[in-house]
């Protein structure tokens, strides 16, 4: 099966680099082609990278609590630039304080994310989800 391409990055004014590297490693090990655009990435950088590499999914991390603000409008911009149907995941410490995750998930789903992960999610979860969503069969 053809290798699937993922754009991975940390959105907004967020400089958390460690989790980003771990995800890069884990996803690469799992057989994906990872385009890691790193920390401090804008929405446009995610989209440009996805267009140029014809990526299959965009994986957004946000660890510093401003995720809701930073992610707003990403799906709309994807639609505008011709990659509106691309698979989008988001995870990390998406909001400030102790909020009920179900309501957080609801908000990010409404923003157009296909999967939303709570803090403390291990890489295995999104990897399994990617396999399912992209129709990758075990072989």
């Amino acid at each position: 099966m053809e290798q699937k391409t993922l754009v991975l990055g940390v959105i907004g004014s967020d400089v958390h680099a460690v989790g980003n590297r771990i995800l890069d490693y884990a996803l690469t090990q799992a057989g994906f082609k990872v385009i890691n655009i790193g920390v401090l990435s804008t929405q446009e950088e995610f989209i440009h990278a996805a267009i140029e590499t014809k990526a299959d999914a965009i994986l957004v991390s946000s660890l510093y609590g401003h995720g809701e603000m930073d992610c707003r409008g990403l799906r709309e911009k994807c639609q505008e630039t011709g990659i509106g149907k691309i698979l989008m995941y988001v995870g990390g410490n998406l909001v400030c304080g102790k909020q009920d995750f179900e309501s957080v998930k609801e908000r990010f789903t409404a923003m157009g994310f296909d999967r939303v992960y709570p803090p403390g999610t291990m890489p295995e979860t999104p990897i399994a989800d990617l396999r399912e969503d992209l129709g990758i069969t075990e072989d």
Binding site: S13, I35, L40, A49, K54, H66
Partner: protein, 459 residues
Amino acid sequence: MQAVLLIDFGSTYTKVTIADLDREEIIGTAQAGTTIDTNIMDGLKVALAQIPEPRGGWNFVRKLACSSAAGGLKMIASGLVKELTAEAARRAALGAGARVLQVFSYELTLEDLDKIMTSKPDIILLAGGTDGGNKEVLLKNAEMLCALPISLPVVIAGNKAASGQAADLLKKRHDPVVVADNVMPELGILAVESARLAIRDVFLTHIIQSKGLDKVEEFLERIMMPTPAAVLAAAELLAQGHGSERGMGELMIVDVGGATTDVHSIAKGDPSKPSVMLKGLPEPYAKRTVEGDLGMRYSSEALVEASGRRLFDYLGWTEDQVACQLGLCKEDPWRLPHTEEEVKFDMAMGRMAVGLAVDRHVGTLEVVYTPFGASYVQHGKDLTPLPVVIGTGGVLLHHPDPLEILQGAVFDPEEPTLLKPQNPGFYLDKDYLLAAMGLLREVSPQVALRIMKKYVLKL
């Protein structure tokens, strides 16, 4: 004596340099107006006649030339995303010594084709998609270019998974069609060398002929490259050295011309301070930028506009005084300054051109405030520790105070985000040798390097 004839067919002047390979010296330099409209040999003969011939006549062991005559090497670049492959294609074209007329991104439209027809480029550089990435844009644009009513040379440097097919499409309409390596094989990786070589190859095999420059090839061996590529080659040699002969280290060359100001930097430009993050497209080690609106004569009006208040503050003049001088420049682009006022105006204009061109060439440092305090993000090259700045071009060579003009390249504490050289040593290419030495590098890099080190003047 082993004399080598080196010629630069410029847009206005044909410059001739004769070097002696044995004694590693310049025997003579001269210039005359370029005669592209009649026979380009005429201007060359006039220039050559100014250098006294030795008894028995010249016996040149090599005769080489570069050219920016007949509009230079005009190119159009096209890519997918403006900031990514389109920008990479633009840089590849600049690095090959081209004048980039236009850069297109995404799918070419019928209007874009009209623009291509009006600007009549010598070569089109087609990029788009990382290797294994987007294929559609390259194929679509190749198909679109087949609708052009004329045949043009095309260099393809896009997604390798689609470039063969794109070439097959293009060959139906265009000739030659050359496939080079992708200018951006992976996201964020710039690889312009292969495209640069392909462009140079097309220049040698096709462009020289179509511009009527091949007339000189009976007299010369050949025109080797576009002039800016020769300057960049000289700059690389001078920076890096050759064999046991040491170079000058990382450096910048500022060439202030009548129509444009070119800046070449041979430097890595990595962050000079700790905890600075690099963002954006990486820059080539040998980087060239061209500012079409910063020139001393043909673009003098645009230069005054671009410098705005800075020029008036520097001169302490009224708008009328500036307008009067500007009128003189437009009236006669060939003029050299005579009166005290004219000299002062040229100095101010030169300094503005140097300042703005270097502003646009160097990288920037941006402060990003995060919940954990300030972070620094660098785009482009940090040239603050750069030790050497070399000036060349008419205004610097003919002005009594070139240092004052070159000081425009220095870091300004009032604009700390522009990463310009903080405390460089200044040099002057007083004999206008750089392009000639870029040519001589093809014959004997060691000698070219020693001559440059000997003749480039410390200010």
